[in-house]
Amino acid sequence: MNSNQQPVITTRGISRTYQQGPVDVRAVDGVDLSILPGEFTALVGPSGSGKTTLLNLIGGLDRPTAGEVVIDGTRLNDLDENALIQFRLHHIGFVFQAYNLIPVLSAAENIEFIMLLQKASAKERRTRTQQLLKDVGLEKLGHARPTQLSGGQQQRVAVARALASKPAFVLADEPTANLDSHTAESLLDVMEQLNRDEGMTFVFSTHDPRVIARARRVVTLVDGRIDSDEA
């Protein structure tokens, strides 16, 4: 990877402390992390190690109690709630564990929805939706509702939706957690292909060894700290 490139994600000493009754839980504890464009990075670690919390902080869904997050040159700490929503819409793609599509909209409409929020033209929405469905291998299932799709297909729609806004990177929190291993592999295939062909940056959390094996960089968290970082 070209080390001259500007990182698309930078965190400097970020922590997130939760109040749990009388004790403070440091879910994320002083994490410094840089992600360069085009990376395909896995965030791993045992349950409770802070993967979700870290992804939420990077994605601007949560605010650090200390440290700063810089995305694409913008310091997220400086954005208010509404600006943060706009920022997420235009810069970050999200894939969640499961059931994160709008149930009453078809696969194509779910993808189009994001572009509608971005006020893209009807023509652009249509052509891009078709392209994305094709990219994730679902060009024939655009009209299907989420309930008519398998878990793996739903996650592929979620990936397509995440890409719809032309984000700088895609964050995926345990995208394969609810999938059997075969389906998980084929979702990874899709993500890998998008990474390879279009240079899309992916950061995903997982604790599935087979998924970890597909990553090109593996960042391991233990108790909210980076334990190892291997490329």
């Binding site: 869904l61 929503i85 997420r88 819409l89 235009h90 969640f96 994160n100 709008i102 509608l116 939706r161």
Partner: protein, 410 residues
């Protein structure tokens, strides 16, 4: 706004079919019931007022200012033909007619009864009341003027009571101008089917000039009656008449029949209490639906905000859903109630028992008329829709405060 928003709102509405049907159904019945209730109330009173106005008081009547308190021939007014012609030109005045009314004792043979004699201009009254079509066969409305006796057209029930047929003679005894006794002798031209029993038992129409002669009131009348256009503003008409007759009083039907107006207002107040309770129930039903809908979809809302849906955009989307839910009920309710009312307008319900007696007491046809006026629909529909739009404010608050991380985890 893009069609996808409408699609989204519409489909979301049907995620829980049963709940939507029940909620929209309650709005449907609220509108239906409210419109029917108001329509019947306005219909009944509208017809009462219209009947009374046509046959007796008019919508607006110019009287001597003392006549209302003491309706005697002494409190009459001199009829000025020029001013009468002016009055007929007033905007919103459909017909302006002079009348001379008096309560007298009428007799024929050995039978007698108190009646109300009304001196009229036959042609003008006929155009308002279609009397010629209501003459019982064998008789006629006013016939050829004959030198021997002035003519009278008698309410059919009164005619039957006194045993009168066309050609018979009717005698009247009453009080004339300045307290002189007034005797009248009239030849019955025809019997008038007035449709409502009380008036039919009471009214005797004679020509104005004959009444003036009988009561020694040459050139005078007890009132100038104005029938207004249905669309006219009565208070405007009243004001114009008042300006034209500055020395007299121009009174509204509501002043001339205060008890009728009070009864109407009492009935409307009662309706409002029923409607208020009804709306309260519907409002809470709607609110509980919105409450459930919001709590079920926390996770979805959390995800939508996470991926970049603005809270206001989301609020608008949910607001559209609640508005559609309300509109669905209100719209279908208004659509359904229309033909329902049209049917009962064409085939009025015949009243029975107490209600029938009450109507006859007021001198009214014992039917249940309905009034089909846009304002009744709009008022009820607007209230129910307004409720939906108010209830829809609740999700706005929820979405403004929604914690996306908590919501996404739920």
């Amino acid at each position: 706004m893009n069609a996808l928003w409408w699609t989204l709102a519409w489909r979301n509405l049907w995620r829980n079919k049963r709940r939507t049907v029940i909620t929209a159904g309650s709005a449907f019945f609220a509108v239906f019931f409210a419109v029917v209730m108001q329509s019947v109330t306005y219909g009944v009173f509208g017809k009462m007022i219209e009947d009374m106005a046509r046959l007796s008081t008019g919508h607006v009547q110019v009287q001597d200012s003392l006549y209302l308190a003491e309706p005697t021939p002494d409190h009459s007014l001199e009829l000025d033909a020029a001013r009468l012609a002016e009055a007929q030109k007033i905007d919103g005045a459909m017909a302006v007619m002079p009348r001379l009314e008096a309560i007298v004792l009428a007799s024929s043979g050995d039978r007698s009864t108190p009646v109300q004699v009304i001196g009229i201009e036959p042609a003008a009254e006929d155009s308002v009341n279609r009397f010629t079509e209501r003459i019982r066969s064998g008789g006629q409305y006013f016939g050829e003027p004959r030198a021997d006796l002035p003519e009278a057209v008698v309410g059919a029930a009164l005619g039957d009571q006194l045993g009168l047929s066309p050609g018979d003679t009717l005698f009247t005894i009453g009080q004339g101008y300045h307290g002189v006794p007034a005797y009248g002798r009239f030849r019955v031209a025809g019997l008038l089917e007035l449709g409502n029993p009380e008036l039919s038992k009471r009214l005797v129409y004679v020509q104005l000039a004959d009444a003036q002669h009988a009561f020694r009131m040459e050139g005078r009348v007890t009132g100038v009656v104005c029938m207004a256009d249905p669309a006219a503003d009565l208070e405007d008409v009243q004001a114009e008449l008042a300006a034209l007759f500055p020395d007299q009083a121009a009174r509204l039907w509501s002043d001339l029949m205060p008890d009728l107006e009070q009864t109407l207002e009492g009935k409307l107040a009662g309706n409002y209490i029923i409607l208020f309770i009804l709306y309260l129930i519907i409002g809470f039903g709607l609110f509980s639906t919105v409450l459930m809908m919001m709590s079920e979809r926390q996770k979805e809302f959390g995800i939508l905000i996470s991926v970049g849906t603005g809270r206001r955009t989301l609020a608008a989307m949910v607001y559209l859903e609640v508005a559609l839910l309300g509109l669905l009920g209100v719209g279908l309710g208004s659509l359904a109630v229309w033909p329902f009312l049209e049917y009962f307008d064409a085939n009025p319900v015949q009243l029975r028992g107490d209600l029938r007696e009450l109507h006859e007491q007021y001198g009214l046809e014992p039917i249940l008329p309905v009034m089909i006026e846009p304002f009744i629909f709009f008022n009820q529909a607007a209230v129910v829709l307004g409720m939906a739009l108010t209830v829809g404010l609740y999700p706005l608050r929820v979405l403004k405060r929604l914690d996306i991380l908590k919501a996404s985890r739920s």
